[in-house]
């Protein structure tokens, strides 16, 4: 949504409605290995966002004709639960928005995965948003990368994402739902944090060239913070796995 909304998103002292500074991300917590049946899984809380991701595979492709001779078939389904949204119940049928987001999330994860290591197999990433409060697609990517790593899929890097928005003419990191709704633009960005390469970039609203360059810098900073939390979650998961295995040996 562009143009003046008439809603104040910044306070007199330049803080955002939830008290954050412009370059501050919301509290983020990730947990890896939260599901028993999935080969890999992760749960993320980013502010009020709550998202759960399951990874199944590598496994045989169904339907079989979709199998690729030279690489793994990565499939993603991003889905919002009917009660996850602030306004009226969302129909459980996939919306056009969810179809597009599923595609861009897949294309954000693919650059990090050694797809050619598992030809003729599929890896399915299922993303369910339990509570949505802005920036769900990038939070989903951050969690999905952890779930893929938890599943033991070989990757050249993790992927983490953040949205850069424009509120009252200023760039702000990690848009909340209300900032997305009433702000002047939204630019979701995902990167491979260690390599610094961009794997997802979208935008609506109006941005100058300089703002885009600046947004990429702000995104990288925020993504490095998310990367620390991703690594922490994975280390915690594997120290637990290790402890269990050592316990069994004794």
């Amino acid at each position: 949504m562009t143009g003046a909304s008439g809603i104040k998103l910044l306070t007199e002292d330049g803080r955002r409605l939830d008290g954050r500074a412009l370059n501050e991300i919301r509290r983020c917590r990730i947990e890896a290995g939260v599901l028993k049946n999935a080969d890999g899984s992760a749960y993320i809380e980013l502010g009020r966002n709550k998202i759960i991701v399951a990874v199944y595979g590598p496994r045989e492709v169904h339907p079989r004709h979709e199998a690729l001779p030279d690489r793994m078939l990565l499939r993603c389904r991003y889905s919002m639960l009917p009660f996850s949204v602030a306004d009226e119940r969302k129909s459980p049928a996939p919306t056009r928005r969810e179809v597009e987001i599923s595609k861009v999330i897949r294309e954000a994860l693919e650059p990090a995965i050694f797809l050619e290591e598992f030809p003729r197999t599929s890896v399915d990433v299922y993303i369910e948003v339990i509570e949505a409060d802005g920036s769900t697609r990038v939070a989903s990517i951050t969690a999905a990368a952890v779930a893929l790593a938890d599943a033991g899929i070989p990757m050249k890097d993790l992927v983490a994402g953040v949205s850069i928005g424009k509120i009252e003419g200023k760039l702000a990191v990690d848009l909340s739902g209300i900032e997305d709704q009433y702000g002047e633009g939204d630019m979701p960005i995902a990167m491979m944090p260690r390599l610094g390469e961009i794997t997802l970039m979208q935008a609506d609203g109006r941005f100058t060239r300089e703002e885009i360059v600046q947004a990429l810098k702000m995104a990288r900073e925020a993504i490095l913070k998310l990367y620390e939390e991703q690594k922490r979650a994975l280390k915690e998961r594997y120290s637990m796995v290790l402890a269990t295995e050592l316990g069994e040996e004794r």
Partner: protein, 278 residues
């Protein structure tokens, strides 16, 4: 032409295209920053309120505009409605199958919709007939009819051409509050003329306006929608690869430098009897 249509590029051909790219050469003889010839005609669909056909080399896209009076969206009672739909029909290429829209159709439509909406192309607030009750609903339907790559840019030009050429009935509100259409036709209220420019990354080379074969071997693509005052009003990255921040900047500069030429094609259209000046 048809013998070139495959979905997997043979490895030697792939390597040839990628090493050509390194030398600054392209399969169709263009330079990396060279856009294909753009041809634009309007009004071929007589029953549409506006229509346009765009050729980008061998790529051809038609778009039509139909308007109807209806209710506004509840969250925007004082704005007209813009709805963009796109369908990759099997007529255009053997790689398209009949059936319900898949992610490619949806992505194309939504990217065009965002670019037009954010620019904004239409002054939606001027499409209100009775505030909160009756507004013009503007439907833009996009149909690629021949596929040689870069449907996003061609679709953007076709959509914008159809909007610029559209004429809609003038309305009067009668004393008892009823809305009547008159015989008089007026152009749609246009605020900006956004254009879409797509850049493909092949190896570490950036090329503008990829053809089909380049799309098959590219690592990734990025599209910028640009307004008349050089604002970016939509971005969409696609494909299995990634971009460095420096590549994004370089791609944006390439897009900014070709945008005026694309827009000129649309503006010429307007001078030759299209819509009103914005």
């Amino acid at each position: 032409m048809s013998e070139r249509i495959y979905t997997v590029v043979p490895a030697p051909r792939r390597e040839a295209i990628r090493s050509m790219a390194k030398r600054g050469e392209r399969v169709d003889g263009r330079k990396p920053e060279e856009y294909r010839e753009v041809k634009l005609e309007v009004g071929m669909a007589g029953n549409a309120d506006g229509s346009a056909k765009v050729s980008l080399g061998h790529t051809k896209v038609i778009a039509g505009v139909k308007v109807s009076l209806g209710q506004p969206f509840p969250d925007a009672p004082n704005a007209g409605v813009q709805i963009v739909h796109a369908e990759l029909i099997p007529l255009a290429s053997p790689i398209f199958e009949p059936g319900p829209p898949d992610e490619n159709d949806v992505e194309l439509a939504r990217v065009i919709d965002r670019g037009l909406r954010s620019a904004p192309a239409l002054k939606l607030e001027e499409l209100v007939v009775v505030p909160g009750k009756q507004v013009w609903r503007v439907f833009v339907d996009i149909y690629p009819i021949d596929h040689d790559g870069n449907f996003i840019d061609a679709s953007g030009l076709a959509a914008m051409g159809a909007l610029l050429s559209a004429k809609i009935p003038k309305t009067v509100v009668t004393p008892d509050g009823a809305v009547a259409k008159t015989e008089e036709k007026v152009p749609l209220p246009i605020a900006d003329i956004p254009v879409f420019v797509t850049i493909a990354k092949i190896g570490d080379v950036l090329v503008v306006d990829p053809c089909y074969e380049e799309e098959l071997v590219m690592d990734a693509r990025i599209t910028f929608a640009l307004t008349k005052d050089d604002r970016v009003c939509a971005i969409q990255k696609g494909g299995r690869g990634s971009f460095t921040p420096e590549e994004i900047e370089r791609a944006l500069d390439m897009a900014l430098s070709v945008a005026p030429r694309l827009r000129a094609a649309l503006e010429n259209l307007r001078q030759s009897g299209g819509a009103s000046p914005p």
